[in-house]
């Protein structure tokens, strides 16, 4: 169900995400004071290459990481096997990557 390469990718993506998520959570805690607004969010991110890289990397990692994680769970808890299993993980991966890509584009470039 989980090849050693998938295992490796899951750990690698987790390692990439860890500092990004810490950063993100930090900023959120800092920024949430007094409520969030799109202005505020976009003010911080718009046109920033730094945030583009941060969120870009996160999106790439989470789509891989989540897909592999779901694969394990679907196999073990959902008893899903074979083609359906691959469909599910690829589906999650592509969908997340697409939605994430769009979001990064929106908050940084648009």
């Amino acid at each position: 169900m989980l090849s050693i390469r998938l295992y490796f990718l899951q750990r690698l993506s987790a390692l990439i995400m860890a500092p990004l998520v810490i950063l993100h959570l930090g900023v959120m805690i800092y920024a949430i004071q007094g409520g969030l607004s799109s202005e505020e969010i976009l003010g911080r991110t718009q046109g920033s290459l730094f945030w583009a890289v941060v969120y870009g990397l996160f999106v790439a990692s989470v789509s891989v990481h989540g897909a592999i994680g779901l694969r394990s769970i679907a196999y073990e808890w959902g008893r899903i096997r074979g083609f359906s299993l691959s469909l599910l993980s690829w589906g999650f991966c592509l969908l997340t990557f697409f939605l994430g890509g769009r979001a990064v584009y929106a908050v940084v470039f648009a």
Partner: protein
Amino acid sequence: MGDRSNSIRVKVSRGDDRGRHFDEFDVPALESQTVLDVVTWIQRNADPSLSYRFACRVGMCGSCAMTVNGKPRWTCRTHVSKVLQGDTLTIEPLRNLPVVKDLATDMSEFFDKWTSAESRFVPTKTREDAIEIVQPATKERIEADAAIECINCGVCYASCDAVELNPDYLGPAALNRAWTLQNDVRDGGKNSRLRAVTGEGGCQNCHSQQGCVQHCPNTLNPTRSIAGLKRLATRAVFKREL
């Protein structure tokens, strides 16, 4: 257990995978009494058709493992007072293995997986050669020793969700043994074994639940061994060897 009443209510799982039910027995409580003794008492005095398995009766052969009040245990070395809940004892066959009859399981798949993990020594020398010098203080020897005293009782195998849910998963005992061999400086099968333990049912399927550590009667630590294999595997993937 100061005021234990003088008899124990014992619920015993009967039958096989085609159908199972519980039978209840009242067994006299004794001062020196293991769970295996309780089962034996029932077979000798109450129901001669009860089936179970044991051999050494002192924790060396790993034949007598059963589920006692929900937990996998070696029964020959589990004193009743340690597991009694109120005055009842529920005894079932080991989980995650097919049942032959009553309390005896078919352990074939456990050993088949042991074999497919290539958990056996691959010689680099022959009986004509002198015995290899291996200093006991070396890191490898210490690591191998830490995991070597497994009695293949299957208790860890029964306690693991990954085993239960993933039919390919080799399981803690086989992987634990593989790890001792990866640390055995005399062994010549490391590359091939690393492939075997990173295949379809390999070490990566372990979620570090550590039920195996929790329940291993010999206080071995398969999680630690499996982590060691994962480390070797990660390194090999990095080096593009896997």
